[in-house]
Symmetry: C2
Subunit: 888 residues, 2 copies
């Protein structure tokens, strides 16, 4: 008995998303809910996987089931596929488990050929429409199923459009369309060496095959890799009776959201294009009217659509993204799915829906992604700087505010070049007439996207919103010339390499750079509400990595509950402290070093005073000096060059002597693998006085601030511990110096001594370390480096990219914690640490502390807190709450 590969729409429901894909499940659900959905059926994702498993062959029985389903559809519609009198036409669309906008391909008007064309013309009483539909079929089929370049068809079309007065596709005459169809067929034959298939079943078979094939097409693969979607899901194929929005002015097509996807406002939002097919809207070829105007044009249809939209939102308990087509005054629903939305809209909708009683707080917290929260804390343009730019006349134009956020970068007119330029670290604004799936790589490499054509639901807008990319579309007044790599607006020409600034919140486009400023969370009332709910739910504490009082204050304003990592070496890098730092390093004796350390002490104390003040009442974890000493000295390579040059010229022998001396020092500190050299606690253990000075500065600062009424909770953290004896020795020194200082000051401050767990051996021997450490902080950057044997500095630019691209590694382990390896070490260390010291305080201060998946892991493994950069604190608050809900 063969499997069931094909489901009629009324055979499915929303729960069958994995099998039928998102679109198929939505069509099934709508059909069964009695909504006006054109009849059709879905070939399952399992059929897709079976297709690939069999070496790109339909699985046994599938084609028969397709034919049977077509017969059922014929019955329901009263039309017949390939029938010259009353032809049934269908669309063939992809539909994966999650929406992959623009990535999968669609073919409309399947079932048209020279015969059925006549039937359609007669039946519709509209020969022009019939030919328009036929030319669309040939070009779509040629392009998508057969891989002919779209521009070739466009060139033909543009030539005829140029002969019309209006220059638009609706201005084409019926004769022109007939000629176009003839030219398209010739083009098809010339390109492929075969005729366009007039056999409608052949059209259907090839179209379904093409949809399956597109699952492993390069754009889809890129998208999946970027979004972490498994190759093993496959795509479904939806075959749906055609309804026509291009049958005249009583027809049209539109896409709309039940709420505004940019702002979250609870009102219908979308676009409608009269006498057009859906592809015209998506491709941004003509600029559509706002959906609200449909109320004026066709109030009955509008009211009906509004009613159905509200019903679907209630049904799905989420904002819906709808596709509608009006065929000669009849409304058809072609799609419903949860609508993509901007970060701000996501938050507002979730919070509103809780107020409306539609969803719970917990659901609201799960509805917003960490990335969306991140988008809300991204910089916006500084108001004054923007005003200055306006007054200076740098405001070039307004487009549609397609995706929020502000961005500045150099204009690049080609996606491939944008990808190249981004590799050098350049900030890019990608400028295109419009975008297509081929542009995704370039878009993701850019800081912002600007297009001449298209609306709020065009490809560029959808991709940008999904990717937190500031985006302005539909700037029809900029004449983009890709060939010459420039655009002109009025008398100004912006060339490739010139700087642009775009405001995705307002749609403004500026020449030049505009200062950006931090997001103001205080304005994000709904976000504050959502994060407050998150705080109620989450069990993980959210700390921050902050080296300066300024950072500490920002993080606190974002809700940080402590400092998880305050690096003390940044303080050593400041220019004013350089001579003392160099002196300390060069010291030949302990006494000489003590002199320089004495000079550094007041600086360090002052630094810590500021931090303690900013963190009044909250814990502050300070890490002792960590980097290799040579980082504080000039580069070896430059010194070799300088010395060689000075020797060669013979000029300035004093300078030469000085440089030679420095080179000797630098050489003596040179390390082959500095990441694993003399750094971390190894410095304190081999350069007497360094640890002592730092601890003295910390405790003097703590005591001074405590005396001023500041509530100080200091935790001193020893880096790079790999053997218990290192920790033992350092903690002994710490305790001694701290007690001395507190004794001298005549007071006690709340304090803990602990260690980073950042070498594999440290993790393995955590039980021993816990004897001396009151807390562990997982330094997962180094732990990842050493566990993998990946030097991050070397790997990311070189083989790691290849590894991720070739699927050797599922993810970059520096971005998302490697739970299968590094995570196992952490779990071992957590267990051993808790066994040895039940009240041990456990946290993470690697960059993973701000990554949602890693936060989920940290929740599961039982950490007390995660520490991340100040701007990731809101993200982490949400992610921690989601982790708590997910693992309830």
């Amino acid at each position: 008995m063969s499997s069931k590969w094909v489901y009629l729409f009324h055979e499915g429901d929303r729960s069958m998303r994995e099998l039928l894909g998102g679109k198929g499940a939505g069509l099934a659900e709508m059909t069964n809910a009695g909504l006006p959905v054109p009849p059709g059926f879905t070939c399952t994702t399992e059929a897709c996987l079976a297709f690939f498993a069999a070496g790109r062959q339909f699985p046994e029985g599938m084609w028969d089931q397709v034919v049977t389903a077509m017969r059922a559809t014929e019955q329901e519609t009263g039309k017949a596929f390939g029938d010259a009198k009353n032809p049934l036409l269908v669309s063939v669309r992809s539909g994966a488990r999650v929406s992959m906008p623009g990535m999968m391909d669609t073919v409309l008007n399947i079932g048209l050929n020279a015969e059925t064309l006549k039937g359609l013309a007669e039946l519709s009483g509209n020969e022009r429409f019939a030919y328009d539909s036929y030319r669309r079929l040939i070009s779509m089929f040629g392009r998508i199923v057969k891989g002919i370049k779209g521009e070739l068809f466009e060139m033909v079309l543009d030539r005829f459009k140029a002969q019309t007065k209006g220059g638009r596709d609706t201005d084409l005459t019926i004769d022109m369309l007939k000629e176009i169809v003839a030219e398209y067929k010739t083009l098809y034959r010339n390109q492929l060496g075969e005729e366009f298939p007039e056999d409608v079943w052949e059209q259907l078979r090839q179209a379904i095959t093409a949809v399956f094939d597109s699952w492993f097409g390069p754009n889809a693969a890129t998208y999946r890799r970027f979004h972490g979607i498994s190759d093993d899901w496959g795509t479904a194929v939806n075959v749906c009776t055609m309804v026509f929005g291009n049958m005249g002015d009583d027809s049209g097509t539109g896409v709309a959201f039940t709420r505004n996807p940019n702002t979250g406002e609870p009102q219908l939002y979308g676009e409608y294009l009269t006498n057009a097919q859906g592809e015209d809207v998506v491709a941004g070829i003509r600029t559509p009217m706002p959906i609200a105007e449909l109320e004026r044009v066709n109030p009955e249809i509008y009211a009906e659509f509004l009613r159905l939209g509200t019903m679907l939102e209630g049904h799905y308990r989420d904002m819906q993204d709808l596709e509608l087509t009006v065929e000669r005054g009849k409304l058809w629903m072609l799609q419903t799915r949860s609508g993509k939305r901007t970060a701000r809209a996501a938050v507002k909708i979730a919070v509103d829906q809780v107020s409306e009683g539609l969803i719970t707080k917990e659901e609201a917290v799960m509805r917003v992604t960490p990335e969306q929260v991140d988008a809300l804390v991204h910089p916006v343009f500084d108001d004054k700087a923007k005003k200055v730019a306006q007054e200076r006349g740098d405001l070039l134009t307004h487009g549609l505010n397609a995706s929020p956020g502000a961005a500045t970068g150099v204009a690049i007119f080609d996606s491939a070049r944008a990808e190249e330029a981004a590799k050098t670290g350049q900030a890019i604004i990608l400028v295109r007439p419009e975008t297509s799936p081929d542009d995704v790589g370039g878009m993701l490499s850019s800081k912002g996207v600007l297009t001449q054509h298209g609306g709020a639901t065009s490809h560029a807008a959808v991709v940008a919103r999904s990717n937190n990319l500031p985006c302005v579309v539909g700037c029809e007044d900029i004449g983009v010339n890709v060939e010459r790599r420039q655009f002109t607006i009025g008398n100004r020409t912006i060339r490739e390499g010139d700087t642009l600034s775009i405001d995705g919140f307002t749609g403004e486009v500026f020449a030049g750079t505009i200062t950006t400023m931090d997001a103001d969370l205080s304005r994000e009332k709904e976000l504050a509400t959502l994060l407050a709910w998150s705080d109620e739910i989450r069990q993980l504490g959210i700390y921050t990595n902050a080296d300066y009082p300024r950072d500490a204050r920002v993080a606190r304003s974002f809700g940080a509950q402590g400092i998880g990592l305050c690096r003390t070496e940044h303080m050593f890098f400041e220019e004013s402290r350089r001579p003392a730092v160099v002196g300390m390093i060069m010291a030949r004796t302990d006494d000489e070093r003590a002199k320089y350390l004495g000079e550094l002490l007041p600086f360090q104390r002052e630094d810590f005073e500021g931090i303690f003040e900013a963190m009044d009442g909250l814990p502050t974890i300070i890490r002792l000096i960590d980097p290799p000493m040579h980082e504080f000295l000039p580069s070896r390579e430059s010194l070799i060059e300088e010395v060689t040059t000075l020797r060669c010229t013979g000029e300035n022998p004093e300078l030469l002597a000085e440089k030679e001396e420095m080179l000797t020092l630098v050489n003596s500190l040179h390390e082959i693998n500095p990441m694993m050299g003399l750094r971390g606690c190894r410095v304190g253990l081999t350069m007497k006085g360094v640890t002592e000075m730092q601890v003295q500065a910390i405790f003097e600062a703590a005591c001074r601030q405590a005396k001023k009424g500041i509530d100080v909770h200091v935790e001193v953290m020893i880096p790079l511990v790999t053997h218990v004896n290192e920790l033992k020795a350092e903690v002994t020194t710490l305790r001694k110096v701290a007690e001395e200082v507190m004794g001298r000051e005549g007071m006690q401050v709340d304090h803990k001594f602990g260690t980073m767990i950042e070498t594999p051996r440290g993790a393995i021997t955590a039980g021993e370390l816990a004897e001396y450490a009151e807390f562990f902080s997982f330094g997962t950057n180094d732990l990842t480096q050493m566990s993998f044997g990946f030097s991050r500095d070397d790997a990311e630019g070189k083989f790691l990219k290849t590894y991720v691209e070739h699927g050797i590694l599922p993810k970059n382990p520096f971005q998302s914690l490697d739970q299968g390896g590094v995570g196992k070490l952490m779990a071992m260390a957590v267990q051993a640490g808790k066994e040895a010291r039940p009240d041990i305080e456990l946290g993470i201060c690697g960059e993973h502390g701000g990554d949602a998946d890693s936060i989920d892991f940290c929740h599961r493994v039982g950490l007390k807190y995660v520490s991340c950069s100040p701007y990731r604190v809101p993200v982490a608050r949400l992610a921690a709450a989601q982790a708590a809900l997910r693992n309830r």
Copy 2:
């Protein structure tokens, strides 16, 4: 009730070594066996530890017990401590659990003062002797108990000796001795601001305290650290009635071994000095006569001593190291202990004793240390080169062959400078008049030791033998001038920095360098026997790390059962292959690279053919290319210098362009932490064709040799795997290419594909790796680097030394496997690997494979084999047998 801190000799026995120390237990055993041991007692090692625990105070009750024991000793000897008429004199000596020669201090003649001096003179009828003993007491007490510099006493003595005809201490007159005593007392007072203690109990108390204190003296601490002896053992103190070898010509003192400690020949071996105290022999001040001559001088004493020695050897079932003193014709035994011996002697004695039925084969295997086996495979001088040196007149002199082995190095006349110079990697021959415990550091930093004075049991000889250090002593004809850093022999002067060669087998000293040659195991018949017994006992296979057929043959001759690591990159470093290697690295396209790989293929194939031939019948594990690519290119620093110079001078623009191009390439390959960069399997996975070429070469070579009748067992090993997908991809390539080659050649060769476990993540995920790996080989060099986060290149020269010196690390983890950390990872990987693949082949190919402690671990953790360098194979065979016996 207070503890028992003090044991009379007859209260103890040999089983109480931990409590009474080796010497104390030996004295107790001899006493109870009825041997002539002067009465006395032992303060226990527990007393020593309690002394330190109480802050350098005798534990409660100890002193009372000492007094009681002294009373018992008085009773037994019929003498009284401090009695002016019949004074009891005692020696106070250290005695730890294991012998630490020269490290601990001894004070003789305790109990002498101005009063008892007279009694001793009367009683002995020898006033000269009494004064001689007194001056010895004052100087020893001053030096050892009070820390006065020995030279100060020597200067006084030398001044008086200079006034005699003979110039020796025996030539001093009684009046001179009286003056010396007076001067010594003045010296003592001037140095310390106090009088020499005339109270004999005070002498005893201070002497015992000094022995305890010496446990933490710097020399003892250095020795313990070097030999891995715990600080927690403590030392016992032996208080023993004095017997006098310096009471005239019918008295004397000697040390002797029951067998020859250099050769193992079963005959009494040692030295005897008439009319002297033991310290004279040990210090090498006068050159003693061989013990055999005692037979002529005093046949009765000799016979008695021989009888007692044989008895003791039978009693202890091991060769004994004895101290004797003859006092006016009566033989006293002062010590027995297992004698230290050269490697050759250890092996011969163990094998002989099995033949004699004294011990079992298993005991014989446990009697020889791995280090001793190592000493036997050390190089000796090339016979011809030595003959040439002799003919050239470079043979300077003959000394005593105190410790075997041949060494060449620059002469250094000072231990501190030797330590310094050794840090630069220089080979040193330390030249001293004689050595003292202060010289141990310098000796251990040297390749060989040469002294002017002293005999086969002098400090220099004992320390050298214990440390496998070639050593020649007693070259009295070289006039060492430490001040001028030179020695003169005949008309030749050797200055510091000149090269010397010493032959520790023969005692020859040469000017200049002499070529050394490999040890000839075929001459070591007893060793062959011992290793054959080891082979019967051990469970671990012994493989070797060999890159060349020559190494493979040597290892095989030493008993290697396979190659555990054949590095393929060494083949790339050869000059003739350099252009192709550079071309391969610089290739811009896969095709271009393929061209260079094609050039390398025949070279690699030829290399492997040689290896397979040498290993006929045994497994050969070949590792694919491992090091970072830049290692095959010129140094970046030199290129910067060259380019800078060429730019500066403006000469030779073509050369400049060429160098600039190379610098660009080198810069592009430059890595900040190359150890964790693009190397290992990462090369194969990112540079297409490299893996393929290597595997092709391996299998073509294997097939060709198999066709010639060679029995090939090849295992291909993938380095630096950290994620299962790396292994999966590489194994897929391996399998494909191997099958292609074998298909083409029309035959199969026995093969396996496996991986190194050398990153922590690899070890953690070993269960996953075992799915694709037929064998694991632990690369513990890298595994140690990454687990600790220690770059070996950087750590060993910098902080690691400090760490070991300060006891932060018990051992250098690159020398002896870190069982508590790295070992845990290995154990996890072994377990997971066996669970996933029960027949997985497990081995180790890091340098630890030749380290005895690490081999013991490998045995316990269940590896199949250890692989080590060819010259360590015999050592590993023994160590593996010992591991099997130890863990039975």
